[in-house]
């Protein structure tokens, strides 16, 4: 018997089926089965800061930022159908607004970060509105151009510290607040998005992605929905930027760097597009990896891009979908 006469059969585990409906509530076993992966993620995120050393705690914060950006990218790409190649624009907007408010007007951190999240989201959305009326690649192109445009705008007008950047911003009070603030935000965004995409709002966005004409024919203003979705993503990105500028107490043109655009995309593709939790896992794998390669400079961007290409070509389902399959199903070989 040769291998070609066999096929792999995948069958749902019985506990998967039993825990699918409301009856899961009737047994501890089924509830544990459902809660375990979620609890494991939340618990490991909450415990990690306690066991890491000083240096890796900073890396952890950066990883959480990338995870949030990856969530924003995944949400836009898979649930709204907009591929954003310029996530660094949101980072830059948030960082510069928050840093500027803090530096020039002396706003305290707890005021400047929320203000920058909102203002950055408004500006970012306004910049992207012209191409939201169009289908196709316009969004990707414009979002790719905008960060580069903002960099040359800052250099041309030599405002906000120009090429030097601004240093000595207020820092967050201590390392614990730094870490748990970003973890809290990350979990909020993760579970918030997971909830959102199953609500009416998310269903309409999915509809717009799959068939915009049909949604429009139902009397729904699709541009308005897209604007809301972009606003959400921009708000998350700007928050990350504002947080980042206060984390390092410094802001500069490197906030518009390609790293912030490509790493979240690589994390998303690696973790599994459209799973929302996958991008978080991807970001927490990729960021420490890139930290280990810090000495190699630009090699990091090349490495992310190569990883991204490898995953998108040879393992497009990503890590999380693979794990999910192993968790919910079992496989066996079967004679044809």
């Amino acid at each position: 018997m040769t291998a070609s006469e066999q096929r792999k059969k995948r069958i749902e585990r019985s506990i998967t089926v039993r825990s699918r409906s409301i009856y899961a509530l009737s047994s501890w076993r089924e509830m544990t089965f459902l809660l375990l992966p979620r609890a494991a993620l939340v618990a490991s995120l909450c415990i990690l800061p306690l066991v890491l050393g000083m240096y890796w705690q900073r890396v952890f914060c950066a990883a959480a930022i990338y995870a949030m950006l990856a969530l924003a990218f995944d949400f836009l790409a898979q649930f709204v159908g907009l591929v954003c190649l310029g996530l660094s624009m949101f980072i830059g907007l948030g960082g510069y607004i928050s840093g500027g408010l803090n530096h020039y007007w002396g706003w305290p951190i707890w005021l400047s970060i929320p203000a920058a999240s909102l203002a950055g989201a408004v500006l970012g959305t306004l910049a992207l509105v012209p191409c939201l009326r169009l289908r196709g690649v316009y969004f990707a192109i414009i979002s790719f151009m905008l960060p580069l445009f903002l960099v040359s705008l800052i250099i041309a007008t030599s405002i906000l510290g120009s090429t030097e950047g601004i240093s000595s911003l207020d820092n967050l009070p201590n390392i614990w607040i730094e870490q748990y603030l970003i973890i809290g935000a990350l979990l909020l965004v993760l579970f918030g998005f997971r909830r959102l995409v199953t609500e009416d709002f998310g269903v309409i966005l999915q509809g717009i992605k799959d068939n915009d004409q049909a949604v429009k024919a139902s009397g729904i203003d699709i541009t308005a929905y897209r604007i809301k979705a972009v606003f959400l993503a921009a708000c998350i990105g700007s928050f990350c930027g504002a947080y980042l500028s206060h984390l390092y107490g410094w802001l500069g043109l490197s906030m518009f760097a390609m790293d912030f655009s490509i790493l979240p995309i690589a994390a998303t593709v690696m973790g599994g597009m459209g799973t929302l939790a996958g991008p978080v896992i991807g970001a927490f794998i990729l960021t420490p990896l890139s930290e280990g390669l810090r000495g190699f400079g630009q090699l990091r961007v090349v490495l992310y891009s190569l990883l991204l290409l490898g995953f998108i070509l040879y393992k497009p389902e990503g890590i999380l979908n693979y794990l999910e399959r192993k968790y919910f199903q079992f496989e066996r070989w079967e004679k044809v």
């Binding site: 591929v83 169009l134 690649v137 290409l309 070509l313």
Partner: protein, 294 residues
């Protein structure tokens, strides 16, 4: 007078840069974000052939153009072909290819590779001299851009209108399914478009780069120019590409004259936003209007 002549040269620069991107997008509907990367790569290849291998200039140019066309084929065959029909993945993949090439050129210390960093890379002009036309001094390289650029455009026109391969490309661009029913291989056409598009990017690089220094950042700037021309003119429209390059070429020259060169990208993005607000499918984007507007 100066503005008219330099504007014409600048418009031709825009047109050369954008034509490859427009060709690829028109035929295969793939936004080739690696366009700028190929442009820079060809520049560095020509430089290496010239200075490291000591080849004659003409041979170096020819070789690097061949390599660029080959690269286009490889990118399509091994990356994009597997992702056809998945727009998200196509965009991400071509963006990743672009970053691999561009940032890879900056790598240092691997296998004795020094990395192309710093201001000492530039291609020599074809003919180092100046002429005076209508009271304006113009170097020969800019004349070459005007002349050879027009020749390239003419060649594209003749190729797509009178040769069988070119007609196939246009058929795929107009209606892919109908073209496939008539026995035109869509993958082969797309591969050819990428080869041609990359060779066009290479031609642009060879013609334009002698005007200044060679740097990795130019990959992004060139890509922005190409994208700006294509959006303003209407994605996938040839007449639009030509008109848009004239509009952008002259407005950039005017703004440089009035305010200084750093404002170029402001002008580009500003024009794009105005166009998207007033006429979203571009100046000449009639044909694809229904497809792109929601």
């Amino acid at each position: 007078m100066e503005i008219i002549i330099y504007g014409a040269v600048n418009s031709m620069v825009f047109m050369l840069v954008a034509s490859g991107f427009a060709l690829v997008y028109g035929v295969s509907r793939i936004p080739n974000f690696a366009h700028g990367a190929i442009y820079v790569l060809v520049g560095f290849l020509a430089w290496s052939f010239l200075n490291d291998l000591k080849l004659p200039y003409a041979l170096a140019i020819l070789l690097s153009l061949l390599v660029s066309a080959l690269l286009g084929v490889l990118i399509y065959r091994f990356v994009l072909m597997r992702l056809r029909g998945m727009p998200t993945s196509e965009i991400i993949a071509s963006f990743a290819v672009s970053l691999v090439i561009l940032e890879g050129l900056r790598l240092q210390g691997i296998a004795g590779f020094k990395g192309f960093i710093g201001p000492f890379y530039s291609l020599p002009p074809f003919l180092d001299a100046k002429v005076k036309i209508a009271g304006v001094f113009l170097d020969w390289q800019r004349l070459f851009i005007l002349g050879l650029g027009s020749l390239v455009l003419l060649a594209i026109y003749l190729f797509t209108h009178y040769s069988k391969a070119g007609l196939k490309l246009r058929a795929i661009a107009q209606d892919e399914q109908a073209a496939m029913m008539l026995g035109i291989n869509s993958d082969r056409a797309a591969m050819m478009s990428l080869a041609l598009g990359s060779a066009l990017a290479g031609t642009a690089a060879i013609l334009i780069l002698p005007l200044g220094n060679l740097a990795v950042e130019q990959g992004y700037h060139v890509l922005i120019r190409a994208l700006a021309v294509c959006i303003v003119g209407g994605l996938g429209s040839w007449a639009g590409t030509i008109i848009a390059s004239l509009v952008l070429g002259y407005s950039v020259i005017l703004s440089t004259k009035l305010f200084g060169g750093v404002w170029e990208s402001v002008v580009l993005v500003g024009t794009i936003i105005v166009i998207l607000l007033l006429k979203p499918s571009g100046l000449m984007g009639k044909q694809k209007e229904l497809e792109e507007r929601v």
